[in-house]
Amino acid sequence: MANQTLLATSAFLHWKPVKALNFTVEPRETLTMASFAAAKGKKDALAAAIRAAYGADLPKGSGRVEGNGIAFVWAGPDQWLAIAERKDGRDLESELKAALSGIASVVDQSDGRVVVRISGSDARAILAKGIPVDLDARAFKPGNVAITHASHIGVILWQIDDKPTYEVALFRSYVDSFAHWLLDSAAEYGV
């Protein structure tokens, strides 16, 4: 028995499904994630390598682009978070280490962060209860990224579409507190 493999545990073990008329919350369970940062003097080389390998132009400021099944999310100055579905054994840490050898440092974040997808026409009003960033359609659009906090929990937030749909990445240990805040905030909207 000793060397039977270990089973992964969901970070969202205590979550209940959230479905209201104009609001849905959906954990994204099966992601592979890695952060990468340009080595000194290698910013251009990094951009070129990503363009060559994935056909994506790394956002220089806060933004999100996609290429070859990977979303590249700006995660701070000269730093990005790469996110992809963890299927067919895809592992972004090893994939990016190979692609970016010598030009960027790569760190596995598949377990450190979790991603929640929040969608629906009530999403803006609900998120406004903890996220102090202007998410109005005029100010924040699909492809935009904000690193901020949600009720004192650090998050990276980006918009996917105009429904609007957002995704929020947060550190794993905060998941239950984040859920508490989100459900409290959504209670007014029939959740």
Binding site: P132, V133, I147, T148
Partner: protein, 98 residues
């Protein structure tokens, strides 16, 4: 108060940490007068009225260190610069490599 992070845009004060004077430069530890220079660098501040150049950290945002020029009586902010860029511009060229 709101600070316009050069990376993230305007954000509220609660995303930032204040971290003191941005005009002092860390002395050379090998200087013969290092002891006095470090005391001055660490402790001595004249607190003049008017505009200050201050270090702020976008702790709940992008983690960039910033140099903010701010009126300490009015809280008016006239510039926000990326600390790394300020530091690189101010470093003597010889120190660029180690």
């Amino acid at each position: 108060m709101r600070i316009a992070c050069p990376y993230c845009g305007e954000r509220s004060l609660d995303e930032f940490l204040y971290s003191g004077d941005a005009t002092v430069k860390r002395p050379d530890f090998a200087s013969p007068t290092a002891a006095n220079e470090f005391v001055s660098y660490t402790y001595e501040r004249s607190n003049p009225p008017g505009m200050h150049r201050e270090l702020w950290y976008h702790s709940a945002g992008c983690h960039a260190w910033l140099v903010v020029t701010r009126g300490i009586a009015t809280h008016a902010i006239t510039s926000v610069e990326v600390a790394r860029d300020v530091a690189l511009n101010e470093k003597p060229a010889t120190k660029d490599s180690i």
